[in-house]
Amino acid sequence: MEHSYFFITMIYLAAAVIFIPLARKLGLGSVLGYLLAGMVIGPSMLGFIGQEGQDIMHFAEFGVVMMLFLIGLELEPALLWNMRAPILGLGGLQVLITTAVITGGALLLGQPLNASLALGMTLSLSSTAIVLQSLKEKGTLSSSAGQSAFSVLLFQDIAVIPMLAIFPLLAGASSTHKDGHTLRDNLPAWGQTLVVLGAVVVIIVAGRYLIKPLLRIVARARVRELFTAFALLLVVSISVLMSLVGLSPALGAFLGGVVLANSEYRHELESDVEPFKGLLLGLFFMAVGASIDFKLVLSMPWVIVGLVAALMTLKTIILLTLGKVFRISTEQNLLFGVALSQVGEFAFVLLSFTNQYNILPEATVSIMTAVVAISMALTPLLMMLYEKVIQPRFNVADRNTRQPDEIHLQEKHPVIIAGFGRFGNIAGRFLRVNGIKATILDLDSDRVDALRNLGEKVYYGDASRHDLLEAAGASDAKIIIVAMDTVEQTLEVVKVVRKHFPHLQMLVKAENIPDTYELMDLGVLHIYRETLDTSLRMGADALNMLGIRAYHAHRIASTFRKQEDKALKGLSAIRNDKKLYINTVKERIEELEKLMANDKVTRWNSPAQGWDESSLINEANEDQ
């Protein structure tokens, strides 16, 4: 069936708009929604889209590139350096062991050595797109399982480079490989290495000395879409450069992101690339869904089901073993194992290569393609299963073995602290040294274990679940301090508390102005912007060092804070339905401008009139 461009675009967008809200409503994340949408519109079911699915997949893979760019942006070089041990150790071992085991398995199943090795390498990879998107959506990317998964995925992205180099060597005698389409192909080995290193150096040097000044120029032009265009150009150029030298564009984009991570335009880049990434990734997931050939699956269901099950079990076992070796706690390790159990999108690329090089016969390739796609589609389901079945059970088991904790809960602490990260733990420690006992709930199981080892009464659990809050004594408590790691989690907790425990006084941490507004909309009275007090204290100290009296600096900082609160409340009241867009950088800048304009009109730093004797002096002089 031939369809116009617009028709296909319409089908894809409509499928997304229909399926994503539905999937979310049903509690399946957006990734699963996209996959389902793809399956439904794909050739196997409704057939709205046909063979062009493959092309779309290639195009949509660019979404993965953008995602890696964004992840790079959030990761400063120093942070990356700190992660070198898990990346090389955990990631390296995962790829090596999984490749070896699968190769062995394939050999046992009667495949020739070169095909077995190709399968082993292809199937050892996991899906960066699905895993990171799902973890991010569930807010577990910063947990130890999330960090470990990220390290492994990063290593896999690097490992693709040598794999691509090895594949031609595995090629059968009658290779139909086309002539060199990358710069490297006609070079000797040392030349290839040089080209690869050169490309990396180009990205780093250009990022430092070329892109940053360019960004400044583009930003100064003050044409909003120009910046977006430049951001896209940046990612596309990196991809082109990387493809030219035969490297993974995703890896290049990641590197580019890291180089720009500490640039002042980081957030602007982020917010500009973000929507494109979201759409393209969605498109990518839909293409994966559409690529599942149900006819093939139905013609040999047990072979495919068996392969998927065996493959995912094998990968999970290897991951769990490695997790154990790298001392990830059991509960986090399970998430780690489940999350990375699928085969990644790069397998599609590698599989098509195996076909090109005659390593695998066509039939095997299409079976494996179905297996890979199904394993990807299963991942969000498995993660949901983990979240709904394994994780809660873990908490119960955990609590049962720690009976004394239950007894202490009977004490009915007046305070519940939801989120014991950087912010919550200061408030918690402060309360504790003042003899106030608090029940602490936290979502990071490693942090919970660490704190428990220090003798803190911390409970692992999601504070946005009302049964868990109930168990933590919310009915009898007076105060809840909400200091979750992410804004989304904070809003969830606030909504649940408002609904089920309206008597609780809420003290809520906010990160920035937009979420302060959202909390105001939810009727939260006590909102604490994370950095406000500290930065004002710093400002006051700076004034003091410049010779302003400490007491005066202290007072004007305090006045400034009150004024800021008041101004925010005022602006919140007049912003109306603009809040939908408030997350964009432009809005944030506008907010800042409004606040600063407010600073000028308001005499927030007016001197204390009581201590100002000028009027008295004037009067005294008049009397003379």
Partner: protein, 182 residues
């Protein structure tokens, strides 16, 4: 040599003319410790132990401050409330400050003539300082007559300089024991 502790209190020194001139002039004088209360405790959170140990290291304590509503700025009261603890400064076992001398160094906006039964303030500065005097007595300290610079609302720059010189001289004499009362 007598050791002098000056407890300086001015909440808005940036607005001041006379106290702002006195302060740098006495900074670094030998035998004199200048302790700027508002600068050290901008949040009025006074370190009681530190203050008490300072008191123990000195023989003469002077509150130097502008005369606000016939008394000292708020931090002086806060200081008194917290530092002069029962059982330390007063009470049956409170003998830490016994025998030390204490007094006020004051700048007033009004002229000397206004601090008089006939003037519009109706009382002398010494009258108004009665709580300081009794506090000293309760703490077994000897209260010295106040050192007062009157009429700062109309004072001229050259007069300020004269006051600075005079104040320095007074402190030197006090330190070297040349004058007993002041």
């Amino acid at each position: 040599m007598t050791k002098i502790l000056i407890l300086f209190a001015h909440p808005a020194l940036e607005k001041s003319r006379v106290q702002a001139a006195l302060l740098p002039a006495i900074k670094g004088m030998q035998g004199i410790t200048l302790h700027d209360l508002y600068e050290v405790y901008p949040d009025l959170n006074i370190d009681v132990r530190h203050e008490q140990s300072l008191l123990l290291q000195h023989d003469i304590i002077l509150f130097q401050h502008p005369f606000y509503w016939y008394s000292a700025p708020a931090i002086v009261k806060q200081w008194q409330d917290l530092v002069l603890e029962h059982g330390w400064a007063y009470g049956s076992t409170g003998t830490a400050l016994r025998g030390k001398r204490i007094g006020n160094v004051i700048t007033t906006g009004g002229q000397e003539s206004s601090y008089d039964k006939e003037g519009w303030n109706h009382h002398t500065v010494e009258d108004f300082l009665l709580p300081f005097k009794q506090t000293a007595t309760l703490c077994n300290m000897q209260y010295m007559p106040p050192y007062i610079i009157y009429g700062t609302h109309r004072i001229t720059p050259s007069l300020i300089q004269e006051e600075v010189v005079a104040y320095r001289q007074m402190l030197e004499e006090l330190r070297d024991g040349k004058s007993l009362t002041q």
